[in-house]
C-alpha cells in the first residue's frame, strides 16, 4: 500500500434494536477513545445501503463492525477476513435498497472496486428483538475488546491510533442525542 491509501472503519446496524446497534456503538467507542491519521475515516453507517457504496469503494482497507450470528455464546467476538466477509455478512436478504450490506459489497464487486483488504469484527448478539433498547450486557462488555482489536489490527498496517486526552474530547460522529449515553438515558 502507498501513503495515499484510504482506510475506512465502518460500523453498521440499527441502534434502535438492542444488539443490532453493536457496529455503530463500536465505531463510536473507537472514535471517542482514539484519534487517527487523516487517511483513516470512521463512519457510522447505520442501516444505510447504497449510500455506503461510494464510501466502501473508496477504501483500500475496510474494517467493519457488526453483529453477526455465528451460533456462538452471546458477546463472543469473531473475526473474518477478505472474501469471507460478504459471505458472513447478511446472506440471502432481499437486495440493494435495504439494509443488506452484502449486496452493497456485491455491487462493489460488480463495479470492480471492492476494497483490497477487508476485515470484519463481529459480535454474537444476544437480543435483536427489543425495539427501543440498547446493547445487552454481554455485548456491551465486549465493546472495549472490539475497539482494542481494531487498534491492533490497524497497527499491523502501520496505522497508529493516538489515545485521546480527557481535555480534548472528540467531536461526536453523529448528533449527541443518538449517542449511546443520551439514547440510554431515556430508553
Amino acid at each position: 500500500m502507498t501513503s495515499d491509501r484510504a482506510i475506512v472503519v465502518l460500523g453498521i446496524g440499527n441502534i434502535l434494536w438492542a444488539d443490532e446497534g453493536f457496529g455503530v456503538r463500536a465505531v463510536e467507542a473507537l472514535h471517542e477513545a482514539y484519534a487517527f491519521p487523516p487517511e483513516v475515516t470512521l463512519i457510522d453507517g447505520g442501516t444505510q445501503g447504497l449510500a455506503l457504496l461510494p464510501l466502501i469503494e473508496a477504501a483500500d482497507l475496510l474494517v467493519v463492525f457488526d453483529a453477526v450470528d455465528y451460533g456462538l455464546e452471546p458477546g463472543v467476538l469473531h473475526l473474518i477476513d477478505d472474501d469471507d466477509v460478504p459471505r458472513y455478512l447478511t446472506a440471502k436478504k432481499m437486495s440493494l435498497h435495504q439494509t443488506s450490506f452484502q449486496d452493497v459489497l456485491g455491487l462493489a464487486t460488480l463495479s470492480g472496486r471492492l476494497p483490497g483488504r477487508m476485515h470484519l469484527i463481529g459480535v454474537q448478539p444476544l437480543d435483536l428483538d427489543d425495539y427501543g433498547a440498547s446493547l445487552t450486557a454481554p455485548v456491551r462488555a465486549r465493546l472495549e475488546a472490539a475497539v482494542a482489536h481494531a487498534v491492533a489490527f490497524l497497527a499491523r498496517f502501520g496505522i497508529i491510533a493516538s489515545p485521546r486526552v480527557a481535555d480534548d474530547p472528540a467531536e461526536p460522529l453523529g448528533p449527541a442525542s443518538v449517542g449511546r449515553e443520551s439514547y440510554e438515558a431515556v430508553a
Binding site: V68, M94, H97, Q98, T99, D103, T109, P125, V178
Partner: protein
C-alpha cells in the same frame, strides 16, 4: 367462499390455489403477499402483510422534540432525510416556529435531490429487473444495441465497443456464479418481453446509474454537513453559509460547494432526461399492452402537497406539488384535505396486529395508539413462528389501515401526477400527454403498473429541473445579502407553551408522509407517523375495503404460475418501504430472527 364485492368496488374470491410470496424481494423491510389464483392463473384475491413491527412512538416518548429528527433518521435505511424533514416540520408546526427563506429553499433542494436519486435507484436497481432480463442481455448484438441506443437518446456512451465491454464484464460476473444483485431472478420467464438488445442497453444503464447516484447525494453532504446521516435542525438548516469563506471541514458552506451543487444538478438533469426517461419509454413500448396493476390508481388518490416556494406558506398557490384528494375516479372534483381534522385521516386496526379499545372505529394520529397484538385468525394455516397461510378475515399485518374520510387511498408519484393532470397544470399534463401520444395510448393507460412506473420517471425529471429552480433561487437570495439559514428565537424550551400539537408532512419519493407530534412539558408525549407504504400497503378495514397493493394485484394473469414475476412487478411499482428490519442473518443464509415473532 363465493365472490364478494368490497365497498370500494373490487371482487374477491379466495377459492382458488393459494400462492405465498415471502419475502417480497428488492424492497426495504419485510413484506409478504398471498394471492389466490383461478384455473387460468389469474389473481382473484390478494392479501398483503407487513410482517415487521415498527413503533417509532416507543422510542420518542419522553425525548426532547428538537432531537426527534435524529431518531427518525434511524427508522429506515432509505428514507433517512425524508423522516427527518417531516419531524422538524412537525415540531416547528407545534411550536409555531418559522424558518428563514434560505432554509426553506435548501430543504426543497434536499427533497428534490432525494426524489431524483430515489427514483433513479428505484427504477434501475429495484424495479427494472422486473422488466429487464439480465441473462438475455448476454445474447445481444452490441452493434444493434448501439443502433437502438442512438435512436432514442443523444447520450454519448453508446458505441458498439462500449456495449461489448459491458457485455463482457457482465458475462464474467455471471460466469463467476456470484450473481449478487441478480440472484434469484426469474430469468427466462415468458413475461419478459424485451429483445436482448434492449436488455443489454438497460443493464448497461443499471451500471451507469449505480455510478451516477453517488454523485447526486453529495448535495446532501454539502447542506447536511455529512453523509450518510445528514444534519437537520428545528428552525432551519444546520449549515451556515459564507460565500467567500474557505473550504474546510466544519466551515460554512462556501461558493466552491455551491458551484459543486450546481454542477451536480446539471449532470442530474442530463442523466435523467437522456438515460432514465428514454429507457423508460423504450421499455414501455414493449410492455404497453400489459395493462394490469391499476387498483386504486386514477380512482382514490391523494397528495399532501409540497415544495412551498416561499417559506412558511402552505397555501395551494405556493406549493409546486399540488395538494388534494380524488375519490371514485372523479378527476374533475378535487377535494381539500385537512390533516388536523379528526374525521379525515384515521387509522384502523381490526385487521392489523395492534389493539384498540374499540376496533370498529379509526383513530386520528393525534389520538393514535400503537399497542402491538400479534394474534392469528382461526383460518390461519401454521403457527405464529411459521405461518403457511394468513387468515385475512382476522388480523394479518403489522401495517395499520389508514383511511381518508373512510376511503383507502393510493399515494405516490402517480397520484401526484394525476392530481397535477386533473388540475391542468402544464408541467404535469404536458409530459403525460406526450408519453401517451408517443405510445399511442389513452389516458386510462396511465392507471396501471406501467403508468405508475412511468409517472415516477417523469417525476424524476420534474424533480431534477426543480433542483435547478431552487438552486437559482438560493443563489439569488444569497447574492442579495440574505445569508440566514436558521431561526433560533424559540430554540430554548422555556419559550415553548406547556402543551402543543403539530403536524409535519412531506411528499416523500413514495408518497404522502405525515408525522403527528404531541409535546407536553417540553418533552414528546406522543408521536405517530403514517408513512406512504402504510397508505398503499394497508390491510382491509372494518368496512371491508382493500388497500392499494391488494387492489392492484387483482385480475392479473401469471405467465408461469410457479413464478410470481407479475406480483413483484406490480408491488415494486409502488416502491414499497417497510422500514428497516433487523439485518442479522446466520452465515448459511437462513434468517436468525424473524421480525414477525414478538
Amino acid at each position: 367462499m363465493t365472490t364478494v364485492t368490497t365497498p370500494n368496488g373490487f371482487s374477491l374470491n379466495n377459492s382458488g390455489r393459494r400462492m405465498v410470496v415471502d419475502p417480497i424481494t428488492r424492497i426495504e423491510g419485510h413484506l409478504r403477499c398471498e394471492v389466490n389464483l383461478d384455473q387460468n392463473n389469474v389473481i382473484r384475491n390478494a392479501v398483503s402483510s407487513g410482517t415487521m413491527w415498527r413503533g417509532l412512538e416507543v422510542i420518542l416518548k419522553g425525548r426532547d422534540p428538537r432531537d426527534a429528527w435524529a431518531f427518525c433518521e434511524r427508522i429506515c435505511g432509505v428514507c433517512t432525510g425524508i423522516h427527518a424533514l417531516a419531524s422538524v416540520r412537525a415540531v416547528e408546526d407545534a411550536l409555531a416556529i418559522t424558518i428563514p427563506e434560505n432554509a426553506n429553499t435548501i430543504r426543497n433542494i434536499m427533497l428534490a435531490t432525494q426524489w431524483a436519486q430515489d427514483h433513479l435507484v428505484h427504477f434501475y436497481h429495484l424495479h427494472a429487473l422486473d422488466w429487464v432480463d439480465v441473462i438475455s442481455a448476454l445474447k445481444a448484438d452490441p452493434k444493434a444495441t448501439s443502433t437502438l441506443a442512438q435512436s432514442i437518446s443523444p447520450w454519448p456512451n453508446s458505441s458498439p465497443g462500449y456495449f461489448r465491454d459491458v457485455q463482457t464484464r457482465l458475462k464474467k460476473f455471471v460466469d463467476s456464479g456470484q450473481l449478487g444483485p441478480f440472484m434469484n431472478g426469474y430469468w427466462g420467464n415468458p413475461a419478459y418481453l424485451l429483445p436482448p438488445e434492449a436488455n443489454l442497453m438497460a443493464v448497461t444503464h443499471y451500471l451507469e446509474a449505480l455510478d451516477f447516484q453517488r454523485e447526486i447525494v453529495k448535495i446532501h453532504t454539502v447542506f447536511g454537513g455529512k453523509n450518510p446521516h445528514p444534519n437537520w435542525l428545528v428552525g432551519g438548516m444546520a449549515c451556515a453559509i459564507n460565500l467567500d469563506g474557505p473550504l474546510a471541514a466544519g466551515a460554512p458552506v462556501n461558493m466552491v460547494q455551491l458551484n459543486l451543487v450546481s454542477s451536480i444538478i446539471d449532470r442530474t438533469i442530463d442523466f435523467i432526461d437522456q438515460v432514465y426517461v428514454p429507457d423508460l419509454i423504450a421499455i414501455a413500448t414493449y410492455y404497453k399492452h400489459w395493462d394490469y396493476g391499476g387498483g386504486l390508481a386514477g380512482r382514490n388518490l391523494m397528495s399532501y402537497g409540497d415544495y412551498p416556494v416561499a417559506a412558511n406558506n402552505w397555501s395551494d398557490a405556493n406549493l409546486l406539488i399540488p395538494r388534494g384528494a380524488i375519490i371514485n375516479g372523479k378527476l374533475d372534483e378535487i377535494m381539500e384535505i385537512d390533516l388536523r381534522d379528526p374525521s379525515q385521516v384515521q387509522e384502523f386496526v381490526d385487521h392489523s396486529w395492534y389493539r384498540y379499545p374499540d376496533e370498529a372505529i379509526g383513530l386520528h394520529p393525534w389520538a393514535g395508539i400503537t399497542d402491538p397484538n400479534f394474534e392469528l385468525g382461526p383460518h390461519t394455516v401454521g403457527t405464529k413462528t411459521d405461518i403457511k397461510q394468513l387468515d385475512e378475515g382476522a388480523k394479518y399485518s403489522f401495517i395499520k389501515a389508514p383511511r381518508w374520510r373512510g376511503h383507502a387511498m393510493e399515494v405516490g408519484p402517480l397520484s401526484r401526477f394525476t392530481l397535477g393532470y386533473a388540475k391542468g397544470i402544464a408541467e404535469f399534463k404536458e409530459p403525460v400527454d406526450k408519453v401517451l401520444t408517443d405510445l399511442g395510448l389513452p389516458l386510462g393507460a396511465l392507471f396501471t403498473t406501467l403508468g405508475r412506473t412511468a409517472a415516477r420517471g417523469l417525476e424524476a425529471s420534474w424533480a431534477a429541473h426543480k433542483m435547478r429552480f431552487f438552486h437559482d433561487r438560493l443563489m439569488e437570495n444569497l447574492r442579495a445579502g440574505d445569508l440566514v439559514t436558521a431561526n433560533t428565537e424559540k430554540w430554548e424550551p422555556a419559550t415553548w407553551p406547556a402543551e402543543a400539537r403539530g403536524i409535519g408532512h412531506v411528499e416523500a419519493p413514495r408518497g404522502a408522509l405525515g408525522h403527528w407530534v404531541h409535546i407536553k412539558d417540553r418533552k414528546i408525549e406522543a408521536y405517530q407517523a403514517v408513512v406512504p407504504t402504510t397508505w398503499n400497503g394497508s390491510p382491509r378495514d372494518p368496512a371491508g375495503n382493500i388497500g392499494a397493493f391488494e387492489a392492484a394485484l387483482l385480475n392479473t394473469p401469471l405467465a408461469d404460475s410457479s413464478q410470481p414475476l407479475e406480483i413483484l412487478r406490480t408491488l415494486h411499482s409502488f416502491d414499497p418501504c417497510l422500514a428497516c428490519a433487523t439485518h442479522v442473518i446466520a452465515p448459511d443464509g437462513s434468517e436468525l430472527v424473524r421480525a414477525d415473532v414478538l
